[in-house]
């Protein structure tokens, strides 16, 4: 295997010949240490873990204050949490380093206004084109409702929300003009031709 690891350039794999670039770091050879084990309560009246009554408490949860044994202690960036608070922190997005997913509400709002228009263009005059009647207000609702919702974890502007609202307003205005043209001014509308 010599000549494969930590080389400045790609080197062929000794087994299959595929060009490989392998960077190995000291963590690969670090000795793994055994995890902490919880100690049993020895003396009656000794503080015990909230989740394991028979285990000795070693510290309180930094969020809720419950006593925790060594097994239940979850260390995150220097803070100790119990599993319940850790889960709550993850789901509510309070602990950013635990977040694994975010929703692009701005893209949802934008899709609500753009997709029906694309549909309208491709299937013009089809009865399905009235879908656009409902999605434009829905887009405005989504944009306002989720204006302050967390965007991407790496930063993202709200420009898509603004664009979605503007297009939605234009669509609504277009629908209103169309209805006025058809129903309130029949002499100018399609009825006038027949």
């Amino acid at each position: 295997m010599e000549g494969v690891f930590n080389q400045p350039d790609f080197a062929p794999c000794p087994a299959c010949g595929v060009p490989l670039l392998t960077e190995v770091f000291p963590a690969l050879f670090r000795k793994t240490t055994a995890g902490q084990s919880a100690q049993a309560v020895m003396v009656e009246g000794e503080s015990s873990c909230f989740y394991h009554a028979e285990k000795k408490a070693v510290l309180p949860c930094d969020a809720c204050g419950r006593f925790l044994c060594a097994l239940c202690d979850c260390l995150v960036h220097g803070s100790h949490y119990c599993p319940a608070c850790l889960e709550a922190g993850k789901t509510k997005g309070k602990i950013k380093s635990l977040e694994i997913q975010r929703t692009h509400y701005d893209n949802i709002a934008l899709s609500l206004v753009i997709l029906p228009v694309a549909f309208l263009v491709t299937v013009i005059f089809s009865p399905f084109s009235v879908i656009g009647l409902g999605t434009a207000p829905a887009a405005i609702f989504v944009a306002i409702r989720y204006w302050n919702a967390p965007q991407s974890i790496v930063g993202r502007s709200r420009i898509r929300f603004v664009i979605a609202i503007l297009i939605a307003l234009l669509e609504i205005a277009g629908w209103i003009i169309l209805f006025i043209y058809i129903f309130l001014a029949p002499h100018h509308g399609i009825h006038a031709r027949y």
Partner: protein, 202 residues
């Protein structure tokens, strides 16, 4: 529970098709963030520098395959467009013009895709190994971009792990690993606490 402060991220690499699927890698002070996003959601994976054991990059043939496929299709479309294109200005009429324009448009899009593939350069697949996982980094799919990303990540990992390994040191360690471990008699293993991992009686 107090909200944790925002973390500053620096873009390392990005790949994928805009609007449909994107993968990107971002650098923070102590970890690498890999993001995969579709139209409506994005998912995160964090790799802390202290935990990264190895990064493995291997070249793939996607670059050549895409060039070949796109090249053949583009060549065919260009030849076909030239063949059906009216030879003189007077031959242009309402029947031929839309077809030629549509064909030319499709050809132009495919030429653009071919050019983007050529500009992107050779392709690769990148894997990152920690003690508990081997993850593919979809954003590091081009050799040039991957080399640039590695040049930025490498010093941060080395700093976090307190040193660098030379090629010889790695080979020596690997040699040690490949040697068979001495057998341990089962009587030497103690399992007194059910919560604690088994340990050897030295």
């Amino acid at each position: 529970m107090e909200s944790t402060p925002d973390i500053k991220y620096i873009l390392l690499s990005r790949s994928g098709v805009p609007l449909l699927y994107r993968a990107s890698s971002w650098l923070a002070a102590d970890h690498l963030l890999s993001i995969e996003s579709n139209v409506f959601t994005e998912t995160y994976k964090r790799f802390y520098f202290r935990d990264i054991q190895a990064i493995l990059v291997h070249k793939t043939k996607r670059f050549e395959i895409w060039n070949l496929v796109l090249g053949i299709v583009v060549l065919g479309l260009v030849l076909y467009t030239i063949a059906i294109m009216p030879k003189t200005a007077s031959d242009w009429n309402d029947n031929t013009t839309p077809g030629v324009i549509a064909l030319a448009g499709i050809t132009a899009l495919l030429i653009l895709a071919l050019l983007l593939n050529l500009i992107g350069g050779r392709t690769c697949t990148t894997f990152l190994r920690t003690a508990v996982q081997i993850e593919r980094l979809p954003s590091l799919a081009r050799v040039r971009a991957t080399r640039g990303a590695l040049a930025k990540i490498h010093p941060l990992i080395v700093e976090a792990q307190g040193g660098e390994l030379s090629a010889e040191a790695v080979s020596e360690q690997m040699q040690e690993w490949s040697e068979p471990a001495p057998e341990v008699a089962s009587s030497q293993i103690t399992r007194d606490d059910p919560n604690a991992p088994p340990r050897l009686n030295s």
